[in-house]
Symmetry: C2
Subunit: 309 residues, 2 copies
Amino acid sequence: MINQLTANIRKTGAPIVAGLDPMLGYVPEHIQKKAYAEFGETLEGAAEAVWQFNKEIVDHIWDLIPAVKPQIAMYEQFGIPGLEAFKKTVDYCKQKGLVVIGDVKRGDIGSTSAAYAVSHLGRVQVGSKTYAPFDEDFATVNPYLGSDGIDPFLKVCKEEKKGIFILVKTSNPSSGEFQDRLVDGRPLYELVGEKVAAWGEELMGEEYSYVGAVVGATYPEMGRILRKIMPKAYILVPGYGAQGGQGKDLLPFFNEDGMGAIVNSSRGIIAAYKQEKYAKYGGEAFAEASRAAVEDMKADISGALENIR
Amino acid sequence: MINQLTANIRKTGAPIVAGLDPMLGYVPEHIQKKAYAEFGETLEGAAEAVWQFNKEIVDHIWDLIPAVKPQIAMYEQFGIPGLEAFKKTVDYCKQKGLVVIGDVKRGDIGSTSAAYAVSHLGRVQVGSKTYAPFDEDFATVNPYLGSDGIDPFLKVCKEEKKGIFILVKTSNPSSGEFQDRLVDGRPLYELVGEKVAAWGEELMGEEYSYVGAVVGATYPEMGRILRKIMPKAYILVPGYGAQGGQGKDLLPFFNEDGMGAIVNSSRGIIAAYKQEKYAKYGGEAFAEASRAAVEDMKADISGALENIR
Protein backbone atom coordinates (compact mmCIF):
# COMPACT_ATOMS: atom_id res chain seq x y z
CA MET A 1 0.00 0.00 0.00
CA ILE A 2 2.99 2.30 0.50
CA ASN A 3 3.73 1.71 -3.18
CA GLN A 4 0.16 2.70 -4.02
CA LEU A 5 0.56 5.83 -1.92
CA THR A 6 3.78 6.91 -3.64
CA ALA A 7 2.27 6.11 -7.05
CA ASN A 8 -0.77 8.24 -6.24
CA ILE A 9 1.47 11.08 -5.06
CA ARG A 10 3.50 10.98 -8.28
CA LYS A 11 0.35 10.82 -10.42
CA THR A 12 -1.31 13.82 -8.75
CA GLY A 13 1.88 15.76 -8.11
CA ALA A 14 0.37 16.62 -4.74
CA PRO A 15 1.86 15.28 -1.50
CA ILE A 16 -1.39 16.14 0.20
CA VAL A 17 -3.84 14.22 2.33
CA ALA A 18 -7.28 15.68 3.01
CA GLY A 19 -8.28 15.21 6.62
CA LEU A 20 -11.93 14.20 6.70
CA ASP A 21 -12.59 15.37 10.27
CA PRO A 22 -16.16 16.59 9.99
CA MET A 23 -17.17 18.51 13.08
CA LEU A 24 -20.89 19.25 12.81
CA GLY A 25 -20.07 22.96 12.90
CA TYR A 26 -18.33 22.56 9.53
CA VAL A 27 -21.36 21.00 7.84
CA PRO A 28 -23.38 23.66 5.98
CA GLU A 29 -26.86 24.29 7.26
CA HIS A 30 -28.67 23.02 4.16
CA ILE A 31 -27.05 19.59 4.58
CA GLN A 32 -27.83 19.42 8.29
CA LYS A 33 -31.43 20.48 7.69
CA LYS A 34 -31.99 17.83 5.05
CA ALA A 35 -30.47 15.10 7.23
CA TYR A 36 -32.52 16.12 10.28
CA ALA A 37 -35.69 16.25 8.17
CA GLU A 38 -35.12 12.63 7.24
CA PHE A 39 -33.69 11.20 10.48
CA GLY A 40 -34.55 13.81 13.13
CA GLU A 41 -32.05 15.56 15.39
CA THR A 42 -30.57 12.19 16.29
CA LEU A 43 -27.21 10.45 16.09
CA GLU A 44 -28.48 8.98 12.81
CA GLY A 45 -29.26 12.48 11.57
CA ALA A 46 -25.82 13.77 12.52
CA ALA A 47 -24.15 10.76 10.88
CA GLU A 48 -26.13 11.28 7.69
CA ALA A 49 -25.14 14.97 7.62
CA VAL A 50 -21.49 14.07 8.06
CA TRP A 51 -21.63 11.41 5.36
CA GLN A 52 -23.33 13.68 2.79
CA PHE A 53 -20.80 16.42 3.62
CA ASN A 54 -17.87 14.03 3.11
CA LYS A 55 -19.28 12.58 -0.08
CA GLU A 56 -19.73 15.95 -1.73
CA ILE A 57 -16.21 17.03 -0.77
CA VAL A 58 -14.68 13.77 -2.00
CA ASP A 59 -16.60 14.08 -5.28
CA HIS A 60 -14.99 17.49 -5.77
CA ILE A 61 -11.39 16.73 -4.81
CA TRP A 62 -10.67 13.03 -5.42
CA ASP A 63 -8.85 13.61 -8.72
CA LEU A 64 -6.46 16.17 -7.18
CA ILE A 65 -5.13 14.21 -4.21
CA PRO A 66 -3.57 10.85 -3.44
CA ALA A 67 -5.13 10.12 -0.07
CA VAL A 68 -7.62 11.02 2.63
CA LYS A 69 -7.34 10.72 6.40
CA PRO A 70 -10.64 10.35 8.21
CA GLN A 71 -10.23 11.07 11.94
CA ILE A 72 -12.30 8.39 13.65
CA ALA A 73 -12.94 10.45 16.80
CA MET A 74 -15.15 12.78 14.79
CA TYR A 75 -17.35 9.81 13.88
CA GLU A 76 -17.09 7.95 17.19
CA GLN A 77 -18.63 10.98 18.89
CA PHE A 78 -21.88 10.10 17.11
CA GLY A 79 -21.83 6.56 18.44
CA ILE A 80 -22.75 3.58 16.26
CA PRO A 81 -24.36 5.68 13.48
CA GLY A 82 -21.23 7.83 13.40
CA LEU A 83 -19.01 4.78 12.99
CA GLU A 84 -21.26 3.59 10.18
CA ALA A 85 -20.61 6.93 8.46
CA PHE A 86 -16.87 6.38 9.02
CA LYS A 87 -17.07 3.00 7.32
CA LYS A 88 -19.11 4.38 4.42
CA THR A 89 -16.52 7.14 4.00
CA VAL A 90 -13.63 4.66 3.97
CA ASP A 91 -15.35 2.48 1.38
CA TYR A 92 -16.37 5.38 -0.82
CA CYS A 93 -12.88 6.90 -0.87
CA LYS A 94 -11.32 3.55 -1.75
CA GLN A 95 -13.77 3.18 -4.64
CA LYS A 96 -12.52 6.54 -5.88
CA GLY A 97 -8.94 5.21 -5.91
CA LEU A 98 -7.87 7.19 -2.87
CA VAL A 99 -5.53 5.71 -0.28
CA VAL A 100 -7.30 5.82 3.10
CA ILE A 101 -5.34 6.56 6.25
CA GLY A 102 -7.48 5.76 9.29
CA ASP A 103 -6.44 8.31 11.90
CA VAL A 104 -7.28 6.08 14.83
CA LYS A 105 -4.18 6.48 17.04
CA ARG A 106 -4.83 3.10 18.61
CA GLY A 107 -2.25 1.60 20.92
CA ASP A 108 -2.45 -1.36 23.27
CA ILE A 109 -0.57 -4.60 23.87
CA GLY A 110 -0.52 -8.21 22.73
CA SER A 111 -3.87 -9.70 21.78
CA THR A 112 -5.56 -6.33 22.28
CA SER A 113 -3.23 -4.60 19.86
CA ALA A 114 -3.79 -7.51 17.47
CA ALA A 115 -7.55 -6.92 17.72
CA TYR A 116 -7.12 -3.26 16.77
CA ALA A 117 -4.82 -4.22 13.88
CA VAL A 118 -7.37 -6.72 12.63
CA SER A 119 -10.21 -4.25 13.06
CA HIS A 120 -8.62 -1.50 10.99
CA LEU A 121 -6.19 -3.20 8.60
CA GLY A 122 -6.80 -6.94 8.68
CA ARG A 123 -9.36 -9.70 8.68
CA VAL A 124 -11.12 -11.29 11.62
CA GLN A 125 -12.03 -14.97 11.68
CA VAL A 126 -15.64 -15.90 12.47
CA GLY A 127 -16.15 -19.64 12.28
CA SER A 128 -15.04 -20.63 8.78
CA LYS A 129 -15.34 -17.10 7.36
CA THR A 130 -13.17 -13.99 7.48
CA TYR A 131 -14.21 -10.33 7.40
CA ALA A 132 -12.34 -7.03 7.03
CA PRO A 133 -14.21 -4.86 9.55
CA PHE A 134 -13.08 -1.29 8.79
CA ASP A 135 -10.47 -2.03 6.13
CA GLU A 136 -8.46 1.18 5.92
CA ASP A 137 -5.16 1.14 3.98
CA PHE A 138 -3.08 2.69 6.76
CA ALA A 139 -3.70 3.38 10.44
CA THR A 140 -2.01 5.76 12.87
CA VAL A 141 -0.61 4.09 16.00
CA ASN A 142 0.56 5.37 19.42
CA PRO A 143 3.98 4.05 20.52
CA TYR A 144 3.83 4.67 24.31
CA LEU A 145 3.49 0.94 25.12
CA GLY A 146 6.57 -0.08 23.10
CA SER A 147 7.13 -3.03 20.76
CA ASP A 148 4.37 -5.13 22.35
CA GLY A 149 1.90 -2.63 20.93
CA ILE A 150 3.53 -2.31 17.51
CA ASP A 151 4.43 -5.92 16.65
CA PRO A 152 0.82 -7.08 16.11
CA PHE A 153 0.34 -4.21 13.65
CA LEU A 154 3.55 -5.18 11.82
CA LYS A 155 2.27 -8.74 11.46
CA VAL A 156 -1.02 -7.61 9.93
CA CYS A 157 0.74 -5.06 7.70
CA LYS A 158 2.97 -7.81 6.34
CA GLU A 159 0.04 -10.14 5.67
CA GLU A 160 -2.18 -7.51 4.08
CA LYS A 161 0.52 -5.28 2.53
CA LYS A 162 -0.84 -2.36 4.48
CA GLY A 163 0.91 0.28 6.57
CA ILE A 164 1.01 2.32 9.76
CA PHE A 165 2.13 5.78 10.74
CA ILE A 166 3.53 5.84 14.27
CA LEU A 167 3.26 9.01 16.37
CA VAL A 168 6.77 10.36 16.82
CA LYS A 169 6.53 14.12 17.33
CA THR A 170 2.98 15.44 17.29
CA SER A 171 2.00 18.90 16.05
CA ASN A 172 0.36 20.24 19.21
CA PRO A 173 1.88 22.84 21.56
CA SER A 174 2.11 20.47 24.55
CA SER A 175 3.68 17.61 22.55
CA GLY A 176 6.99 18.46 24.19
CA GLU A 177 5.80 17.66 27.73
CA PHE A 178 6.92 14.07 27.29
CA GLN A 179 8.16 13.76 23.68
CA ASP A 180 10.92 16.37 24.05
CA ARG A 181 12.31 15.17 27.38
CA LEU A 182 16.00 14.42 27.12
CA VAL A 183 17.13 10.83 27.46
CA ASP A 184 20.90 10.54 27.52
CA GLY A 185 21.02 14.02 26.09
CA ARG A 186 18.62 13.30 23.24
CA PRO A 187 14.90 13.99 23.04
CA LEU A 188 12.54 11.04 23.45
CA TYR A 189 11.04 11.56 19.98
CA GLU A 190 14.43 10.75 18.44
CA LEU A 191 14.47 7.41 20.26
CA VAL A 192 10.95 6.73 19.02
CA GLY A 193 12.12 7.69 15.52
CA GLU A 194 14.98 5.19 15.76
CA LYS A 195 12.53 2.48 16.73
CA VAL A 196 10.27 3.42 13.82
CA ALA A 197 13.25 2.98 11.47
CA ALA A 198 14.09 -0.38 13.06
CA TRP A 199 10.48 -1.64 13.02
CA GLY A 200 10.21 -0.65 9.37
CA GLU A 201 13.34 -2.39 8.12
CA GLU A 202 11.65 -5.75 7.74
CA LEU A 203 8.65 -4.30 5.94
CA MET A 204 10.04 -2.53 2.91
CA GLY A 205 8.04 -1.55 -0.15
CA GLU A 206 9.82 -0.53 -3.34
CA GLU A 207 11.34 2.68 -1.98
CA TYR A 208 9.77 3.27 1.42
CA SER A 209 8.76 1.13 4.36
CA TYR A 210 5.24 0.08 5.29
CA VAL A 211 6.05 1.77 8.62
CA GLY A 212 5.81 5.55 8.52
CA ALA A 213 5.84 8.28 11.13
CA VAL A 214 3.76 11.25 12.23
CA VAL A 215 5.77 14.45 12.69
CA GLY A 216 4.02 17.82 13.05
CA ALA A 217 4.55 20.62 10.49
CA THR A 218 4.87 22.93 13.46
CA TYR A 219 8.31 21.49 14.30
CA PRO A 220 10.38 21.74 11.06
CA GLU A 221 13.79 21.58 12.75
CA MET A 222 12.85 18.36 14.49
CA GLY A 223 11.48 17.16 11.16
CA ARG A 224 14.89 17.69 9.58
CA ILE A 225 16.57 15.46 12.15
CA LEU A 226 13.86 12.82 12.06
CA ARG A 227 13.99 12.72 8.24
CA LYS A 228 17.63 11.54 8.62
CA ILE A 229 16.95 9.14 11.49
CA MET A 230 14.14 7.41 9.56
CA PRO A 231 15.31 7.53 5.91
CA LYS A 232 12.83 4.91 4.70
CA ALA A 233 9.81 6.07 6.68
CA TYR A 234 7.17 8.11 4.91
CA ILE A 235 6.34 11.07 7.12
CA LEU A 236 2.71 12.06 7.63
CA VAL A 237 2.79 15.76 8.47
CA PRO A 238 -0.22 17.25 10.28
CA GLY A 239 -0.42 20.85 11.43
CA TYR A 240 -0.35 22.61 8.05
CA GLY A 241 -2.61 25.64 7.73
CA ALA A 242 -4.97 25.93 10.66
CA GLN A 243 -2.36 24.73 13.16
CA GLY A 244 0.20 27.21 11.80
CA GLY A 245 2.50 25.35 9.38
CA GLN A 246 3.18 26.77 5.88
CA GLY A 247 4.66 25.46 2.65
CA LYS A 248 8.15 26.77 3.34
CA ASP A 249 8.17 25.02 6.74
CA LEU A 250 7.65 21.68 5.06
CA LEU A 251 10.94 21.29 3.19
CA PRO A 252 12.77 19.51 6.02
CA PHE A 253 10.24 16.67 5.94
CA PHE A 254 10.90 15.84 2.28
CA ASN A 255 13.75 14.10 0.52
CA GLU A 256 15.61 15.74 -2.33
CA ASP A 257 13.36 14.18 -4.94
CA GLY A 258 10.30 15.78 -3.35
CA MET A 259 9.06 12.46 -1.96
CA GLY A 260 9.08 11.09 1.58
CA ALA A 261 6.36 13.21 3.15
CA ILE A 262 2.64 13.75 2.82
CA VAL A 263 1.03 16.81 4.34
CA ASN A 264 -2.38 16.76 5.99
CA SER A 265 -4.87 19.56 6.01
CA SER A 266 -8.29 19.05 7.59
CA ARG A 267 -10.17 22.22 8.48
CA GLY A 268 -8.21 24.13 5.82
CA ILE A 269 -9.78 21.94 3.13
CA ILE A 270 -13.12 20.69 4.40
CA ALA A 271 -14.19 23.95 6.05
CA ALA A 272 -12.52 26.21 3.45
CA TYR A 273 -15.81 28.00 2.73
CA LYS A 274 -15.70 29.42 6.25
CA GLN A 275 -12.42 31.25 5.53
CA GLU A 276 -12.55 34.80 4.25
CA LYS A 277 -10.43 33.77 1.28
CA TYR A 278 -13.07 31.33 0.02
CA ALA A 279 -16.18 33.01 1.46
CA LYS A 280 -17.41 33.87 -2.04
CA TYR A 281 -18.37 30.23 -2.54
CA GLY A 282 -20.83 30.28 0.35
CA GLY A 283 -22.29 27.30 2.18
CA GLU A 284 -24.09 25.91 -0.87
CA ALA A 285 -20.86 25.58 -2.89
CA PHE A 286 -18.72 24.47 0.07
CA ALA A 287 -17.18 21.60 -1.87
CA GLU A 288 -16.00 23.93 -4.64
CA ALA A 289 -14.31 25.99 -1.95
CA SER A 290 -12.62 22.77 -0.78
CA ARG A 291 -11.37 22.15 -4.32
CA ALA A 292 -9.96 25.68 -4.54
CA ALA A 293 -8.24 25.20 -1.17
CA VAL A 294 -6.63 21.96 -2.34
CA GLU A 295 -5.38 23.67 -5.50
CA ASP A 296 -3.92 26.53 -3.46
CA MET A 297 -2.29 24.12 -1.02
CA LYS A 298 -0.80 22.16 -3.91
CA ALA A 299 0.64 25.37 -5.39
CA ASP A 300 2.04 26.44 -2.00
CA ILE A 301 3.79 23.11 -1.45
CA SER A 302 4.97 22.74 -5.06
CA GLY A 303 6.41 26.24 -4.92
CA ALA A 304 8.28 25.42 -1.74
CA LEU A 305 9.53 22.10 -3.11
CA GLU A 306 11.04 23.87 -6.15
CA ASN A 307 13.67 25.08 -3.73
CA ILE A 308 15.03 21.64 -2.92
CA ARG A 309 15.28 20.40 -6.49
CA MET B 1 -18.10 8.51 39.76
CA ILE B 2 -14.88 7.98 41.72
CA ASN B 3 -17.06 8.17 44.85
CA GLN B 4 -19.33 5.51 43.38
CA LEU B 5 -16.31 3.36 42.62
CA THR B 6 -14.92 3.58 46.15
CA ALA B 7 -18.41 2.97 47.60
CA ASN B 8 -18.78 -0.15 45.44
CA ILE B 9 -15.33 -1.37 46.51
CA ARG B 10 -16.21 -0.92 50.19
CA LYS B 11 -19.57 -2.62 49.74
CA THR B 12 -18.16 -5.68 48.00
CA GLY B 13 -14.88 -5.79 49.90
CA ALA B 14 -13.28 -6.63 46.58
CA PRO B 15 -10.91 -4.18 44.86
CA ILE B 16 -11.43 -6.12 41.67
CA VAL B 17 -12.45 -5.19 38.16
CA ALA B 18 -13.47 -7.91 35.73
CA GLY B 19 -12.00 -7.31 32.29
CA LEU B 20 -14.68 -8.10 29.73
CA ASP B 21 -12.27 -8.77 26.84
CA PRO B 22 -14.09 -11.53 25.01
CA MET B 23 -11.85 -13.10 22.40
CA LEU B 24 -13.99 -15.52 20.36
CA GLY B 25 -11.72 -18.34 21.49
CA TYR B 26 -12.99 -17.80 25.05
CA VAL B 27 -16.65 -18.14 24.10
CA PRO B 28 -17.85 -21.72 24.69
CA GLU B 29 -18.89 -23.63 21.62
CA HIS B 30 -22.56 -23.92 22.57
CA ILE B 31 -22.88 -20.13 22.65
CA GLN B 32 -21.07 -19.66 19.36
CA LYS B 33 -23.18 -22.36 17.71
CA LYS B 34 -26.44 -20.80 18.82
CA ALA B 35 -25.38 -17.33 17.66
CA TYR B 36 -24.22 -18.61 14.26
CA ALA B 37 -27.45 -20.57 13.85
CA GLU B 38 -29.37 -17.33 14.24
CA PHE B 39 -27.07 -14.83 12.47
CA GLY B 40 -24.72 -17.02 10.42
CA GLU B 41 -20.91 -16.98 10.64
CA THR B 42 -20.99 -13.20 10.30
CA LEU B 43 -19.84 -10.18 12.28
CA GLU B 44 -23.39 -10.07 13.65
CA GLY B 45 -23.06 -13.71 14.72
CA ALA B 46 -19.73 -13.07 16.45
CA ALA B 47 -21.13 -9.98 18.18
CA GLU B 48 -24.18 -11.93 19.40
CA ALA B 49 -21.90 -14.69 20.77
CA VAL B 50 -19.77 -12.14 22.59
CA TRP B 51 -22.80 -10.38 24.03
CA GLN B 52 -24.46 -13.60 25.28
CA PHE B 53 -21.12 -14.66 26.78
CA ASN B 54 -20.71 -11.32 28.58
CA LYS B 55 -24.29 -11.30 29.83
CA GLU B 56 -24.06 -14.74 31.39
CA ILE B 57 -20.79 -13.88 33.11
CA VAL B 58 -22.12 -10.57 34.41
CA ASP B 59 -25.26 -12.31 35.70
CA HIS B 60 -23.00 -14.63 37.70
CA ILE B 61 -20.52 -12.14 39.16
CA TRP B 62 -22.18 -8.71 39.39
CA ASP B 63 -22.89 -8.98 43.11
CA LEU B 64 -19.26 -9.81 43.96
CA ILE B 65 -17.44 -6.97 42.23
CA PRO B 66 -17.52 -3.18 42.04
CA ALA B 67 -16.67 -2.66 38.39
CA VAL B 68 -16.08 -4.09 34.94
CA LYS B 69 -13.63 -3.02 32.26
CA PRO B 70 -14.68 -3.89 28.72
CA GLN B 71 -11.73 -3.64 26.33
CA ILE B 72 -13.15 -1.95 23.24
CA ALA B 73 -10.57 -3.47 20.84
CA MET B 74 -12.16 -6.89 21.37
CA TYR B 75 -15.46 -5.47 20.11
CA GLU B 76 -14.05 -3.13 17.46
CA GLN B 77 -12.51 -6.17 15.74
CA PHE B 78 -16.07 -7.23 14.85
CA GLY B 79 -16.81 -3.88 13.23
CA ILE B 80 -20.13 -2.12 13.75
CA PRO B 81 -21.94 -5.19 15.17
CA GLY B 82 -19.06 -5.62 17.62
CA LEU B 83 -19.36 -2.04 18.78
CA GLU B 84 -23.10 -2.54 19.25
CA ALA B 85 -22.24 -5.46 21.55
CA PHE B 86 -19.83 -3.16 23.42
CA LYS B 87 -22.60 -0.61 23.94
CA LYS B 88 -25.07 -3.29 25.07
CA THR B 89 -22.47 -4.56 27.53
CA VAL B 90 -21.85 -1.08 28.94
CA ASP B 91 -25.57 -0.45 29.39
CA TYR B 92 -26.27 -3.85 30.93
CA CYS B 93 -23.44 -3.56 33.45
CA LYS B 94 -24.60 -0.09 34.50
CA GLN B 95 -28.12 -1.42 35.04
CA LYS B 96 -26.59 -3.99 37.37
CA GLY B 97 -25.00 -1.19 39.42
CA LEU B 98 -21.50 -1.88 38.20
CA VAL B 99 -19.07 0.95 37.48
CA VAL B 100 -17.97 0.66 33.85
CA ILE B 101 -14.40 1.49 32.88
CA GLY B 102 -14.15 1.74 29.09
CA ASP B 103 -10.68 0.48 28.27
CA VAL B 104 -10.35 2.56 25.13
CA LYS B 105 -6.84 4.04 25.53
CA ARG B 106 -7.79 6.96 23.34
CA GLY B 107 -5.40 9.86 22.97
CA ASP B 108 -5.39 12.78 20.56
CA ILE B 109 -5.35 16.58 20.71
CA GLY B 110 -7.69 19.53 20.94
CA SER B 111 -11.04 19.12 19.25
CA THR B 112 -10.24 15.49 18.42
CA SER B 113 -9.55 14.62 22.03
CA ALA B 114 -12.75 16.47 22.92
CA ALA B 115 -14.64 14.28 20.44
CA TYR B 116 -13.29 11.11 22.10
CA ALA B 117 -14.17 12.48 25.54
CA VAL B 118 -17.69 13.25 24.40
CA SER B 119 -18.03 9.87 22.71
CA HIS B 120 -17.10 7.85 25.78
CA LEU B 121 -17.91 10.01 28.80
CA GLY B 122 -19.96 12.99 27.67
CA ARG B 123 -22.82 14.21 25.54
CA VAL B 124 -22.75 15.31 21.93
CA GLN B 125 -24.96 18.10 20.63
CA VAL B 126 -27.12 17.38 17.57
CA GLY B 127 -29.26 20.36 16.71
CA SER B 128 -31.29 21.10 19.85
CA LYS B 129 -30.77 17.62 21.36
CA THR B 130 -27.90 15.96 23.22
CA TYR B 131 -26.90 12.30 23.30
CA ALA B 132 -24.47 10.23 25.38
CA PRO B 133 -23.02 7.94 22.69
CA PHE B 134 -21.17 5.21 24.62
CA ASP B 135 -21.59 6.60 28.14
CA GLU B 136 -19.02 4.67 30.15
CA ASP B 137 -18.25 5.88 33.70
CA PHE B 138 -14.47 5.97 33.24
CA ALA B 139 -12.19 5.76 30.22
CA THR B 140 -8.50 4.92 29.91
CA VAL B 141 -6.39 7.57 28.16
CA ASN B 142 -2.91 7.62 26.58
CA PRO B 143 -0.70 10.53 27.70
CA TYR B 144 1.90 10.60 24.89
CA LEU B 145 0.51 13.85 23.40
CA GLY B 146 0.65 15.78 26.68
CA SER B 147 -1.87 18.18 28.25
CA ASP B 148 -3.51 19.03 24.92
CA GLY B 149 -4.78 15.46 24.86
CA ILE B 150 -5.81 15.32 28.51
CA ASP B 151 -7.47 18.71 29.07
CA PRO B 152 -10.59 17.97 26.96
CA PHE B 153 -11.13 14.80 29.02
CA LEU B 154 -10.75 16.78 32.25
CA LYS B 155 -13.40 19.24 31.05
CA VAL B 156 -15.90 16.46 30.32
CA CYS B 157 -15.06 14.65 33.58
CA LYS B 158 -15.82 17.81 35.49
CA GLU B 159 -19.14 18.39 33.71
CA GLU B 160 -20.29 14.79 33.95
CA LYS B 161 -18.61 13.81 37.23
CA LYS B 162 -16.86 10.99 35.46
CA GLY B 163 -13.24 9.87 35.49
CA ILE B 164 -10.19 8.73 33.55
CA PHE B 165 -7.29 6.40 34.15
CA ILE B 166 -4.15 7.65 32.42
CA LEU B 167 -1.52 5.14 31.25
CA VAL B 168 1.56 5.66 33.40
CA LYS B 169 3.47 2.37 33.54
CA THR B 170 1.86 -0.41 31.54
CA SER B 171 2.04 -4.09 32.47
CA ASN B 172 3.67 -5.45 29.30
CA PRO B 173 7.30 -6.58 28.99
CA SER B 174 8.26 -3.87 26.47
CA SER B 175 6.65 -1.03 28.44
CA GLY B 176 10.13 0.05 29.47
CA GLU B 177 11.28 0.86 25.94
CA PHE B 178 10.05 4.41 26.33
CA GLN B 179 8.35 4.59 29.75
CA ASP B 180 11.50 3.65 31.71
CA ARG B 181 13.91 5.95 29.88
CA LEU B 182 15.69 8.25 32.29
CA VAL B 183 14.96 11.96 32.13
CA ASP B 184 17.22 13.95 34.45
CA GLY B 185 17.97 10.71 36.21
CA ARG B 186 14.33 9.71 36.68
CA PRO B 187 12.21 7.37 34.58
CA LEU B 188 9.67 8.93 32.23
CA TYR B 189 6.77 7.16 33.98
CA GLU B 190 7.50 9.14 37.15
CA LEU B 191 7.16 12.38 35.21
CA VAL B 192 3.89 11.13 33.76
CA GLY B 193 2.82 10.20 37.31
CA GLU B 194 3.58 13.72 38.49
CA LYS B 195 1.44 15.15 35.70
CA VAL B 196 -1.38 12.76 36.64
CA ALA B 197 -1.24 14.08 40.19
CA ALA B 198 -1.27 17.68 38.93
CA TRP B 199 -4.10 17.11 36.42
CA GLY B 200 -6.13 15.46 39.17
CA GLU B 201 -5.79 18.18 41.78
CA GLU B 202 -8.63 20.26 40.38
CA LEU B 203 -10.95 17.30 40.08
CA MET B 204 -11.22 15.85 43.55
CA GLY B 205 -13.94 13.49 44.73
CA GLU B 206 -14.43 12.87 48.45
CA GLU B 207 -11.16 11.01 48.97
CA TYR B 208 -9.67 10.41 45.54
CA SER B 209 -9.40 12.35 42.32
CA TYR B 210 -11.46 11.82 39.17
CA VAL B 211 -8.06 11.31 37.51
CA GLY B 212 -6.54 7.90 38.12
CA ALA B 213 -3.58 6.01 36.67
CA VAL B 214 -2.82 2.67 35.07
CA VAL B 215 0.20 0.90 36.58
CA GLY B 216 0.89 -2.76 35.80
CA ALA B 217 0.86 -5.43 38.56
CA THR B 218 4.03 -6.75 36.96
CA TYR B 219 6.02 -3.77 38.29
CA PRO B 220 5.36 -3.61 42.06
CA GLU B 221 8.46 -1.60 42.93
CA MET B 222 7.50 1.08 40.45
CA GLY B 223 3.97 0.88 41.86
CA ARG B 224 5.33 1.70 45.32
CA ILE B 225 6.98 4.88 44.07
CA LEU B 226 4.02 5.91 41.93
CA ARG B 227 1.64 5.36 44.86
CA LYS B 228 3.58 8.12 46.66
CA ILE B 229 3.89 10.42 43.66
CA MET B 230 0.13 10.29 43.00
CA PRO B 231 -1.42 10.06 46.49
CA LYS B 232 -4.93 10.99 45.35
CA ALA B 233 -5.00 8.94 42.15
CA TYR B 234 -6.83 5.64 42.15
CA ILE B 235 -4.57 3.09 40.50
CA LEU B 236 -6.02 0.65 37.99
CA VAL B 237 -3.74 -2.38 38.08
CA PRO B 238 -3.76 -4.73 35.08
CA GLY B 239 -1.49 -7.73 34.74
CA TYR B 240 -2.80 -9.85 37.62
CA GLY B 241 -3.00 -13.57 36.96
CA ALA B 242 -2.44 -14.39 33.30
CA GLN B 243 0.21 -11.71 32.90
CA GLY B 244 2.08 -12.91 35.97
CA GLY B 245 1.09 -10.69 38.93
CA GLN B 246 -0.08 -12.25 42.23
CA GLY B 247 -1.83 -11.00 45.35
CA LYS B 248 1.36 -10.44 47.30
CA ASP B 249 2.74 -8.28 44.47
CA LEU B 250 -0.20 -5.93 44.79
CA LEU B 251 0.46 -4.41 48.21
CA PRO B 252 2.58 -1.51 46.95
CA PHE B 253 -0.33 -0.21 44.90
CA PHE B 254 -2.65 0.15 47.91
CA ASN B 255 -2.80 2.65 50.72
CA GLU B 256 -2.72 1.55 54.33
CA ASP B 257 -6.50 1.40 54.56
CA GLY B 258 -6.64 -1.10 51.70
CA MET B 259 -8.05 1.47 49.28
CA GLY B 260 -6.41 3.32 46.40
CA ALA B 261 -6.11 0.51 43.89
CA ILE B 262 -8.37 -1.72 41.85
CA VAL B 263 -6.98 -4.84 40.25
CA ASN B 264 -8.06 -6.07 36.83
CA SER B 265 -8.29 -9.65 35.72
CA SER B 266 -9.64 -10.48 32.27
CA ARG B 267 -8.78 -13.95 30.98
CA GLY B 268 -8.40 -15.18 34.56
CA ILE B 269 -12.08 -14.48 35.18
CA ILE B 270 -13.90 -14.71 31.87
CA ALA B 271 -12.01 -17.73 30.55
CA ALA B 272 -11.59 -19.41 33.97
CA TYR B 273 -13.28 -22.60 32.74
CA LYS B 274 -10.30 -23.14 30.43
CA GLN B 275 -7.89 -23.35 33.38
CA GLU B 276 -7.14 -26.74 34.90
CA LYS B 277 -8.21 -25.40 38.28
CA TYR B 278 -11.76 -24.73 37.10
CA ALA B 279 -11.99 -27.36 34.36
CA LYS B 280 -14.59 -29.31 36.32
CA TYR B 281 -17.19 -26.67 35.44
CA GLY B 282 -16.82 -27.33 31.72
CA GLY B 283 -17.94 -25.06 28.88
CA GLU B 284 -21.64 -25.22 29.78
CA ALA B 285 -21.07 -23.83 33.28
CA PHE B 286 -18.38 -21.34 32.22
CA ALA B 287 -19.99 -18.49 34.15
CA GLU B 288 -19.96 -20.48 37.39
CA ALA B 289 -16.24 -21.00 36.82
CA SER B 290 -15.94 -17.21 36.46
CA ARG B 291 -17.71 -16.74 39.79
CA ALA B 292 -15.37 -19.20 41.47
CA ALA B 293 -12.38 -17.40 39.97
CA VAL B 294 -13.62 -14.05 41.29
CA GLU B 295 -14.08 -15.55 44.76
CA ASP B 296 -10.56 -16.99 44.67
CA MET B 297 -9.11 -13.70 43.46
CA LYS B 298 -10.93 -11.83 46.22
CA ALA B 299 -9.51 -14.23 48.81
CA ASP B 300 -6.00 -13.91 47.36
CA ILE B 301 -6.08 -10.10 47.46
CA SER B 302 -7.83 -9.90 50.86
CA GLY B 303 -5.23 -12.25 52.28
CA ALA B 304 -2.44 -10.10 50.97
CA LEU B 305 -4.07 -6.90 52.20
CA GLU B 306 -4.25 -8.30 55.74
CA ASN B 307 -0.53 -7.70 55.83
CA ILE B 308 -0.78 -3.94 55.46
CA ARG B 309 -3.50 -3.40 58.04
